[in-house]
Amino acid sequence: MGKGEWAIAVHGGAGVHPNLPKESQYKAKQLLTRCLQLGVDALRLSQSALDVVELIVRELEIDPIFNSGRGSALTAKGTVEMEASIMDGVGRRCGAVSGLSTVKNPVSLARLVMDKSPHSYLAFEGAEEFAKQQGAETMDNSFFITEENLHMLNLAKQQNSIVFDYRIPSTNNVSMEKMNGLPMKIYAPE
């Protein structure tokens, strides 16, 4: 690596259940590979680092494989409350949103907060209002909720655990005691 060389890194979350099916692992790797390639193509077209991080996170948000955007973990009420942030190293400008339930790409709303509002963080109904003003794409809440998420929520409720490893096999015979050597109930991956 040297000055003037580009690089991209991407993640889909830390903390993976050791028994995650091979098929799920394969799909996750496919998505990450596709996102990296998307970023490489954009950098080769001289897009900025800021545009490329937004582009890649948008792609990850619309795919239900990971816990963000579509495929988000569910609250105790069975709804989604999504959050995101973005930061530009040039001038350390930043934008963040929380408590979103209809915005298709939370990271792009965070970018709009950074570029088009006098603030750096908007949340819940204020953020949803800003999204409408800015014409950000919104979806019905059901767009974000998947069968797998509902199943995870039920498992978490059975365990009476507020924190839960999101990425566990959906079969019921999953050992629920330990994750990373810690009791599942205190483990809090996101």
């Binding site: 993640h11 990296l36 991080v53 930043c94 978490a156 924190v163 990425r167």
Partner: protein
């Protein structure tokens, strides 16, 4: 949680993180991902995106600490990532990705596995889940 960090050919760094949070969380709960300095940070030296135990990442201002360790201790990127994961998290479990304005990539995690991938201009592309 998902995240991305990029340094472009002009040495500009950026970071972004997005999440649904925790399954069965209380309504109104805010995690680390939207908090600048905790789950996401970028400056002229580096870009960082974190994931894992939100409350631990917030308390340790994990993302900003990578930049601070580089700035004040003169650590290189991977050294700074290893330091914050080992010294700042207490018993917390987390993972993070980072790039520097010199085109370096650094990744660290103390969980069982992390969905992650990286690519550099010299053509190396890797995607991993386990250690």
């Amino acid at each position: 949680t998902v995240g991305c960090v990029v340094v472009d050919s002009q040495g500009r760094c950026a970071a972004a993180t997005s999440t649904g949070g925790l399954t069965n969380k209380m309504s109104g709960r805010i995690g680390d991902s939207p908090l600048i300095g905790a789950g996401t940070y970028a400056c002229n030296m580096c870009g960082v995106s974190c994931t894992g135990e939100g409350e631990a990442i917030i308390r340790s201002t994990l993302a900003r600490d990578v930049a601070a360790i580089m700035e004040y201790k003169g650590y290189k990127l991977q050294e700074a990532v290893d330091f914050v994961l080992n010294k700042r998290l207490d018993e917390g479990k987390a993972g993070l990705i980072a790039v520097s304005n010199h085109g370096e990539v650094a990744i660290g995690f103390n969980t069982v596995g992390m969905f992650r991938g990286w690519v550099t201009e010299n053509g190396i592309m890797e995607v991993k889940i386990w250690d």
